[in-house]
Each structure stands twice: as C-alpha cells, then as structure tokens.
C-alpha cells in the first residue's frame, strides 16, 4: 500500500516532525497508521508530552527565578 509504514518508520517520522515539516504523503501515512496502531498512537502522545516538557524546562532555565534548580518550585 502507498501509505503503509512500519512502526519503526512511523516512529522516525514522528521524531523528525519535531524538527521539520513532513511532506504531505508522510503526514497521510501517519494519520492512517495511528488509526490502526495503538502503540504508535501512544508514542505520538509521549513525543508531544516530551515537547511540552522541553518547552517548559527551557523557560524555567532561561527566565525562571534565581535558585539553582531550573525547575518549578511547586
């Protein structure tokens, strides 16, 4: 199938999409794969969580109050 990808390939694409916009065909392939694959859907969500985490970590580091941790103080 044109849009068929293995979990291994899907994982690579998900991670690449952190750093560049994927071509249309790859984005289609991801959507189709996620409909049928629970593992890769969970991986996608994990990658999203990591992205949010890095963003917050960066802002604590760069703009956070003084103190040596660079992490939220809750």
């Amino acid at each position: 199938m044109v849009f068929s990808r293995s979990c291994r390939e899907v994982t690579r694409l998900v991670l690449e999409s952190e750093d560049r916009e994927l071509p249309l065909a790859d984005r289609m392939a991801l959507q189709i794969h996620w409909r049928i694959c629970d593992g890769c859907t969970k991986f996608r969500d994990q990658a999203r969580l990591m992205r949010q985490a890095m963003k917050r970590w960066r802002s604590y580091r760069d703009d956070g109050e003084d103190g040596d941790s660079g992490t939220p103080s809750s």
């Binding site: 293995s6 979990c7 291994r8 390939e9 994982t11 690579r12 991670l15 690449e16 952190e18 750093d19 560049r20 629970d38 593992g39 890769c40 969970k42 991986f43 969500d45 994990q46 990658a47 999203r48 969580l49 990591m50 949010q52 985490a53 890095m54 917050r56 970590w57 960066r58 604590y60 580091r61 760069d62 703009d63 956070g64 109050e65 003084d66 040596d68 941790s69 660079g70 992490t71 939220p72 103080s73 809750s74």
Partner: protein, 186 residues
C-alpha cells in the same frame, strides 16, 4: 566590588551548570561563563533592567556557548560507542513492529506540574551520550535550526538526524523508566 558585580557573580554557579550541560566539557564551560561575566561587567549599561538579570546573562551565555561549540566543533562531534548504539534495533523487531508497545503516559499536566518530573528530565538529558547530548541541547536549549547546527558543527544533515533521533528515543526510554514506570495513569 559593586552591587552589580556581586549580583552577577552570584549567578555564576547556575550559568556554569547550564554551560556544562550544553558543552559536556568543564574547561570550555568555564571559558564560556568567564567570557559571559566579563561581557556583562564591561557593558553593564546594556542591561536595561527590564528583564531579569538572569535572563539577560543567559542570553549572553548562549552566544558564548555557541562560540565554544564552533571553536571545538571537531571534538564536539566524536562519536562514542554509546553514541553509536542503534536504539532502533533494541526497540523494534526485524519486521518493524515494537518489541514492547509504548505505554500510556497519562495527562501531561499530571507530570509537568511536578518539580520532581523536571529533576528526572534533567538527569535524563545529562545521561545522553556526549555528542547526542550536545546536539539535542543545541536544538532544545539554544533553539538552533537543524541547518544552523550542521553548519556550526560541520556535520552532515544525515548525521544530525540520526543523532537527534537517538537522543529523543533515549530520553523517552529514560523518562519511562525514571518517571512513568509504576505510576498509575488515569
């Protein structure tokens, strides 16, 4: 010592920690921080006071850190055995399926609202192999584009993609083991 100099000096340990985590080399980190503090002390008037002192210093530090990366680009991109490990082989079977399916990590806010989560995250970033760690931090902390990273380190984009890929998979694995494993997810 002026009050300004004293304030700048108190931030040194924090800046040094940041520089070390990016450069993975104590001597280079010391140089980058010294250059940062010198630049700050030579031009205190360029600190407008509108942002926090720390924010201003970190901004300078990022430039000095990039200078160091550029200066030591060859040593920065030596692959250790750890860097070379093919994580994909460990995660996927020969047919391309997951050996062990990824687990549910739950609602992000449950983790991102906790200080301990970020402590685990920092540890996991520190544990990345040196070259992968540098490249990952260039992307995530210095926020350089992939083209810029290739240029500064004189590496091919193929190399860069492989390193970012492996770094992110390692980070995920480390978070899974260090934070999410054993936590009931709702």
């Amino acid at each position: 010592m002026t009050e300004f100099a004293r304030q700048v000096e108190t931030l040194r340990p924090q800046l040094l920690r940041y520089a070390r985590s990016q450069l993975r080399n104590d001597a280079w980190a010391e140089d980058a921080v010294s250059e940062t503090l010198l630049a700050a002390l030579e031009k205190p008037q360029s600190f407008s006071g509108q942002s926090q002192l720390k924010t201003w210093l970190v901004g300078i530090l990022k430039h000095k850190v990039i200078d160091q990366l550029r200066r030591h680009s060859r040593e920065c991109t030596i692959f250790s055995e750890d860097d070379e490990t093919d994580i994909d082989e460990l995660l996927f079977a020969a047919d391309g399926h997951w050996r062990e399916a990824p687990q549910e990590w739950g609602n992000p806010e449950q983790s991102l609202g906790q200080r301990q989560f970020f402590e685990v995250l920092e540890l996991c970033v520190e544990k990345l192999p040196a070259t992968q760690g540098r490249v990952f931090m260039m992307r995530e902390w210095l926020e350089l584009g992939t083209d810029e990273i290739c240029k500064e380190l004189s590496i091919t984009s193929t190399n860069l993609w492989v390193m970012l890929h492996r770094a992110r998979l390692r980070l995920r694995e480390c978070l899974q083991q260090g934070w999410f494993a054993g936590r009931p997810m709702t």
